[in-house]
Symmetry: C2
Subunit: 351 residues, 2 copies
């Protein structure tokens, strides 16, 4: 296969972890006879510094004309404590999601047997956890009208959803559930929000088209609890943008393997693949960040092209690195810690 | 003291747990020479069944002319799966909060040494956890304009905050922090939402008035993670209504003592005191629900009247019940489980 992949390293540790995913993907290409044309482009704070905005048109053109986007991380603390900043790295991410039509964010949470004891949760609570969130990514309060009135004294953000937006996300949820445990949980706040009631009624009307899928409806606050209590009771969860932001991050830490969790954002033909961790600014340039989540995001990318074997080869390499203790300091646990690039090299060599 | 207390038992297990809080409060009144005039009133599904709405005017009049409200639980599953229901028990709760001006929901999460092992988290993660959320309760997306357009195909909910609403909540947060660990965390999503930027800039401007308080700003998704990882790193957290709904429920399960967590809603002169658990419909009438959270809510009520000793007497009784295994089945752990009313009797007898 000939693949054009846009490469958006972004901020903080982004460039370092992306480098390792490139090494590993190149090793896959060599082994399985593919050709990857990497197309680097600017985004985030890095793009603001270079050209004054976080998702420049050139970057969009590169992404839109590629087969997929591999993404590092975005965000820089210098913007966070300045509520009046006019340009923010995160705007780039949001613009990109919207312009590329990436409406479905796929975020798995699973456990690695060798890492179970890293979890803040007790072993018996997380053993067997294997869930996937489908978070709606281009609607809701993130993209509704927002602003100030009364000379800045009043602020507002509007949350809007159409039935079609809910439906296309829910279709992906039902389909995914059919390939897995056949359980779907619709997460909403239908006891308070009108948008949630639209979500619930839309999903309820779809149940009859997927008679094998067992559908449940839970309030977002109840899910925030149950994720900590019984994460292994879930299979596929679908939810709106903001709830998804909060709950997927919560879910990511329960496995104890936050540094290993990949994600995909799908919708149009072009998928975007990225680790779920942030830009971890304190670690920038130190060669200590764990590259495995980004490497596993590359595995999701291959799988999304239908290249299952290639994906599996990456997952196997990561598993054997974990077994052999070829890990960065976050997972070293008193043992030897390897650098970001050493872990990347080892993975590439073992493909 | 002569106290008029509105008594809103509500739905599900509400009446059973409220009965125990009444017994215990009456024992306190007897011991400390107070006079409590209980004023029962209807709310929730119970009120819908009786008079067609969840917070009838009569109930409001009783609450508004009392010194405090003691509340059980609200909600019934028969309304949850009907997105088109016109009247919902929860509307009663929201109307009550608004009409009584209860803008600050105080939700502590603390641990009981004897219950540490009930937590889904490992002991070393939760030991020493003692945090309080101040959740804004009468603004935000709960109370903004909501509805449908395009013949029902589009739904919307508006989130609105004014600087004054943020300020009055933040004042309570700073003041509470001064009486405790002097740390305040403002939880928002300022990288995306305009209302969050108003929150952040308002709190930033107040920092100089409380030079002793160490203030931090964290995104809601980051807090959802850190609550599971290091709950004992927090002291006081302030946040808006919806974030507070999700995060306080998440926080409630980390201690392992969800059935023991009380809450207070303050603002006007009249405070409302209630357990944070729900109406637990499956347990209704079975005499198995844990009444301790409601009993501890009564303790918060006495303390809010300035009656610290009375509050402490209740807390001491609960602690000794826990030590002696005088507990309901949720805490029995293979040992003998007592009924809701037996636990209530024991607590009242041991005041
Ligand atoms: C950086 C931020 C805008 C973003 C979001 O809220 O969507 C991030 O938290 C995420 O989950 O990808
Ligand atoms: C019942 C519901 C409307 C309510 C809320 O969302 O505020 C509840 O979850 C709570 O936290 O008190």
């Amino acid at each position: 296969m000939k693949l054009n992949i846009a490469l958006l390293a972004g901020d903080g540790i982004g460039p370092e972890v992306i480098d390792q995913a490139v090494k590993v993907s190149d090793a896959i290409a060599k082994k399985f006879n593919h050709e990857i044309n990497w197309r680097p482009a600017l985004t985030g704070a890095a793009a603001i510094d270079a050209v004054g905005e976080p998702y420049p048109d050139e970057t969009h053109e590169i992404c839109a004309s590629s087969d997929a986007v591999l993404f590092g991380a975005i965000g820089h603390p210098r913007f966070d404590n300045d509520p009046s900043a006019k340009v923010r790295p995160e705007q780039g991410l949001l613009k990109m999601r919207k312009k590329l039509g990436l409406f479905a964010n796929v975020r798995p949470t699973f456990t690695f047997p060798s890492l179970l004891d890293k979890s803040p949760l007790k072993r018996e609570r997380i053993e067997g956890t294997d869930l996937v969130f489908l978070r709606e990514l281009t609607g809701g309060i993130y993209f509704g009208e927002k602003g100030r009135r009364d000379e800045g004294e009043t602020a507002f953000d509007n949350c809007v959803y159409t039935r079609d937006e809910v439906k296309r996300l829910a279709v992906k949820g039902f389909e995914l559930a059919m390939t897995r445990g056949k359980k779907l949980c619709c997460v909403d706040k239908a006891n308070v929000l009108e948008t949630s009631r639209l979500w619930r009624e839309t999903v309820q009307a779809m149940e009859k088209d997927y008679p094998e899928v067992e559908v449940s409806y839970e309030f977002v606050d109840a899910v925030a609890m149950r994720l900590v209590q019984w994460p292994n009771s879930y299979d596929v969860l679908i939810t709106e943008n903001l709830f998804g932001d909060i709950l997927t991050d919560e879910a990511s830490v329960i496995s104890g393997s936050m540094g290993l969790m990949p994600s995909a954002s799908l919708g149009s033909e072009i998928g975007l693949f990225e680790p779920i961790h942030g830009s971890y600014p304190q670690a920038t340039g130190l060669n200590i960040a764990n590259p495995m989540a980004t490497v596993l995001s590359a595995a999701m990318m291959f799988e999304n092209f239908g290249l299952q074997e290639e994906g599996k080869a990456i997952r196997d390499a990561v598993n054997s690195a974990l077994d052999k203790g070829m890990v960065t300091e976050d997972l070293a646990d008193g043992g030897k810690a390897y650098g970001t690039s050493e872990v990347g090299d080892w993975l590439a060599d073992n493909i």
